[in-house]
């Protein structure tokens, strides 16, 4: 069976060059970087080299980078740490309705502790209105948190403009850049962000490592209490191999950013155009202007069919994609992002995300375009929603309207 992996927004394979630089740190250079002896000294330098590489990718000082365990940790640390540190200043957070659960659920937890959160809505393309954001600011606002790019739709948010608004009102600005880093130029100075989260496994480093950018002078309550690692900002023994891998992945991302983005963009556009040419009655979820989306992401709803059954069918061909369907989320609700964009519920259930990687090949896209139309048609032929327009007052359509 072919193995076509189009779920790179979920995770990516570790790049061979990344794995290679990691391997010595499991066995030969196994020391604890906090130790003074030879074993510790052998690895502490590698941590600092990795820090420089991460910093170079997003244009900050190495001292502003803190290594963390995952993207969710970074978002929790940035948001809760801000709320705790700035509680005397105010209790209001502004975010959006389409954030990753690492941000949304953190905000909901803070609401229970007495913080007020404004969730800026999005339009049907998933875009936010900056005037809404500016209007939401009060003298109690202590944090604006907006993702750089959305994991489901690929939509890119106007981070520089939001950064300018945050500066104007002297409000701290956090961005979950987990999906943007490695796919777009990310410059924390230009963007005016104070806190930014990177996840290793989205950019060819292993799972279990990430980085939090903390702008110099940003007061943040400690999230993980314990040892003095990371200059007291993040306790816990360093994941040395993971950190070294993250450094290498960031180096590669910086080196190949343009060519990889162009490659993914060309193939993504081909996939998008091919699907829209071959399959009727489908809906793009996300910004219609491809420049406003990540170069690798395509999210489409196929009317009359449900996402999980489409994914299972694609999986039988060896094609890995993902869905906003309730059935794939473990919850009963379809994707909150589709909900926020007011995507009609049966279309939300069929939303399907293809996220390409720089390793995606032309023939992978050809194969998807070859099997997808017949797969969709097969499921449509099975669906009571399909082809019922000829019937007056179709009872099934009435059922759908009730849902």
């Amino acid at each position: 069976m072919k193995r076509i992996y189009l779920d790179n927004n979920a995770t990516t394979p570790v790049e061979p060059a990344v794995l290679e630089v990691m391997l010595p740190f499991f066995r030969e250079a196994f020391g604890n970087p906090s130790s003074v002896h030879w074993a510790g000294r052998e690895v502490s330098g590698a941590i600092e080299t990795a820090r420089e590489k991460v910093a170079a990718l997003i244009n900050c000082a190495p001292a502003e980078i803190v290594f963390i365990g995952c993207g969710s940790e970074g978002d929790n640390h940035a948001i809760k740490g801000t709320c705790e540190a700035l509680a005397a200043k105010g209790n209001h957070i502004i975010t959006t309705t389409v954030e990753h659960p690492a941000v949304l659920e953190t905000c909901r937890a803070l609401e229970k502790k007495g913080f007020d959160v404004t969730y800026i809505p999005v339009d049907c393309d998933g875009a936010i209105n900056l005037a809404d954001l500016e209007r939401a600011i009060t003298d109690k606002t202590i944090l604006i948190s907006v993702m750089w790019a959305n994991n489901e739709t690929g939509n890119i948010y106007p981070i520089e403009e939001i950064g300018a608004i945050a500066r104007k009102y002297n409000i701290r600005f956090h961005t979950d850049a987990v999906q943007a880093v490695g796919k777009l130029p990310v410059d924390v100075q230009k963007a005016g962000v104070d806190l930014l989260v990177i996840s290793g496994h989205k950019i060819g480093a292993p799972k279990g490592v990430g980085a939090l950018y903390i702008r110099r002078g940003t007061r943040l309550a400690q999230f993980m209490h314990g040892g003095h690692q990371e200059r007291g900002r993040r306790a816990g023994t360093h994941n040395v191999a993971g950190i070294v891998g993250l450094g290498k992945a960031c180096e590669l991302a910086a080196e190949h950013l343009k060519t990889r983005a162009a490659h993914m963009r060309r193939l993504r556009d081909r996939l998008e155009q091919g699907i829209f040419a071959a399959i009727p009655e489908i809906k793009l979820n996300g910004h219609p202007d491809r420049d406003q989306r990540l170069p690798n992401t395509l999210n489409v709803s196929f009317a009359y069919i449900e996402g999980e059954s489409l994914l299972l069918n694609l999986d039988m061909y060896g094609i890995a994609a993902s869905s906003g369907s309730a059935c794939t989320s473990g919850s009963l609700e379809p994707s909150h992002v589709m909900g926020a964009m007011c995507v009609e519920v049966s279309l939300a259930h069929s939303s399907t995300r293809f996220s390409l990687g720089h390793e995606t090949r032309e023939e992978d896209i050809d194969f998807v375009l070859q099997v997808l139309p017949e797969t969709v048609q097969r499921l449509r032929d099975m669906s009571p929603l399909y082809d019922c327009k000829k019937q007056q007052n179709c009872s099934t359509c009435q059922t759908v309207k009730r849902l």
């Binding site: 449900e306 996402g307 059954s309 299972l312 609700e333 099975m382 669906s383 849902l403």
Partner: protein, 122 residues
């Protein structure tokens, strides 16, 4: 996550389609999960002679629909009414826990079709 039997019925669903001039039609929908199942019946002398289905839903929804058609054909109306969602799930060697309540409605759709048959064939 799915048993081999579920995957078998999902990939090769039995009795997909509609019956022209059916003796009964039943439909159930589940708002939270978004599954919709429609069952068509042909009844002869109190025996279910043919069942077809159309389903919008996940793998479990399609597999349970397919399975219930196989289980119902040849049964009397009363036997078919005794078929439960649980029995359909068991015939598929079980469903994942989160699917039991949302995508396991095929017997309900069959019962709706029988109800419709009885109402229209008094």
């Amino acid at each position: 996550m799915y048993t081999d039997k579920v995957m078998d019925h999902f990939t090769k669903p039995r009795n997909v389609g509609e019956i022209e001039n059916p003796d009964g039609v039943g439909e159930v929908g589940n708002a939270s999960c978004g599954d919709i199942m429609k069952i068509f019946l042909k009844v002869d002398n109190d025996i279910i002679t043919d069942v077809k289905f159309k389903t919008f839903g996940c793998g479990a929804a399609i597999a349970t629909s397919s399975m219930v058609t196989e289980m119902a054909i040849g049964k009397t109306i009363d036997e078919a009414l005794a078929l439960s969602n649980q029995a359909v799930a068991e015939a598929l060697d079980g469903l994942p826990a989160q699917k039991m309540h949302c995508s396991n409605l095929a017997a309900d759709a069959l019962h709706e079709a029988i109800k419709n048959y009885r109402e229209t064939h008094k």
